[in-house]
Amino acid sequence: MNLIESYLAKAADLDTVSAGMDISCKVGYVAAHDVTAPIAIRQFREIGVDKVFDPKRVLLIVDHIYPASSEKARDSVWIMDDFAREFGIPIYKKGEGVIHQIMYEKHRAAPGELVVIADSHTCTCGGYGAIGIGVGSTEAAAAMATGRLDLEVPAVVQVYLTGKLKENVFGKDFILYLGEIFGTDYLTDKGLLITGPGIECFSVAERMTICNMGTELGSMITLFGTETKENEVEEIREIDLSTLNPKIAKPFSPANVCDVADIAGLPITQVVVGSCTNGRINDMEQVALALKGRQVHPNVNMLVVPASKDVLNAMEEKGWCKIIREANATVLNPGCGPCFGAHEGIISNRDVVVSTTNRNFPGRMGANKGQIYLASPATAAASAIAGKITVPGTDSL
């Protein structure tokens, strides 16, 4: 068995599993946020059980729309609040941060443990060794009641990494590159296992960025393994990290990827750094390094969204918030920010955005013809200063 299969076998209490088997797994954590929780709660109540499977292992987190941008958004919070009180489960409702970051900081699953969240970016926790499976509200409701999740053991594609990254290349560039080679559906229903000596290039935070976008490639589970190559997998791809350049995803697909250099010079109007993909301390450090003593281009709005209060606290302690403000950028409250087009930076058809978020579908951040380019924080910050898409490390002072 490969690492994904070993973990799934353990969760299913089986000696062995193989691709294609239907199994029932024990779940470590179940969570939902303000977009998915109201329907999950509705479905949970429909089941008709009087308790959740383990009140310490079921959580609700308000991250998508905080503070409320409408009465309806506020009503969603009340639905969650009532449920949390009634069933005695933790709720984060004061803008503590994005669900995947809160899970890492406050409710971290052990390696191999199953994390089931009603959110597609649950795969983020593969960066710290847990098995993250994104589900919808109904499946989350069933897991809240039963503590179990049924799934089909995925065939596993292993990406084996060697070499070292160039200085201006980051985890984000690597996962965009995987989008370039795999496209959006080659990995559908499969497991993506990342191994090899090259994984040492990536901190846990960078690994979370990489796993976060596994869902953009269609994968069911994305997981970092060890430096050792695994043999019991469906397919192995070897990648020499030293060959990678900074990457960028053009509208309107996260897999529509090229080198940043290929489109350098394109004028932009908004930059967003943050989200569950790239809102951690290391990401904010790239922004602060780039903006220190400089100004964001007059044509550009730059929005910086820490993934959590802990990240924001670190930014303040290190003086980065001041650097960002003095560069004429805006630090928003921790959370999902404008990533999904409901508040805090909605774009019009005239906008061209460089964003460190994970999706650039039509209308994702507002207007349907608004253009979103996905890139690393370093590329985003360099582009914000220049007012045009810029390869990081090449912009002159």
Binding site: A73, D75, V135, T138, A142, T184, G341, N368
Partner: protein
């Protein structure tokens, strides 16, 4: 449930959840979601054209993106009876089945146009249209069982022994 006949509505590849149910509509009350079906693709004029029982036929990777269950719920509320696509994103596919909206994998979008009639047998694995038919993999027993219950929640209730 196993055989569904209807008028088709043809869409392309990579129809994402932001097109099916855009972010601005995610906080809408449950019973209002049908009003936003395909609102993220305004050019389609979907709500004015869709009729109860219509079948969406699409290309690869239908439902990619978000886990928002509002997306299949909106389609179901708007009257869509079945989605047939060359491929589905995993979470969308499971969400649809879990709320009792059948989804079926078959490559047929290229030979159909809006308004054509098809008949889909998800147990035998056939999609028939005026000029012929294509074969595809039958739905698994597990999926058929969930659909027969009308979705995951009634199935879980039955499995937990909770009576009506």
């Amino acid at each position: 449930m196993e055989v569904i006949k209807g008028r088709v509505f043809v869409l392309g590849d990579d129809v994402d959840t932001d097109q099916i149910l855009p972010g601005y509509a995610m906080a809408e009350p449950f019973d209002q979601l049908g009003k936003y079906a395909m609102a993220g693709a305004p050019g389609l004029d979907f709500l004015n054209r869709v009729q109860p029982g219509d079948i969406i036929v699409a290309g690869r990777n239908f439902g990619c993106g978000s886990s928002r269950e509002q997306a299949p719920i909106a389609l179901k509320m708007a009257g869509v009876g079945l989605v047939v696509a060359a491929g589905f994103a995993r979470i969308f596919r499971r969400n649809a089945i879990n709320i009792g909206l059948p989804v079926y994998v078959a490559e047929i979008a290229d030979v159909l146009k809006d308004g054509d009639i098809i008949e889909v047998d998800m147990v035998k694995g056939t999609v028939r249209y005026a000029e012929g038919q294509v074969t595809a993999k039958p739905l698994s027993e597990n999926v058929l069982k969930t659909l027969d219950y009308g979705g995951l929640i009634p199935r879980v209730r039955a499995e937990l022994g909770i009576s009506q």
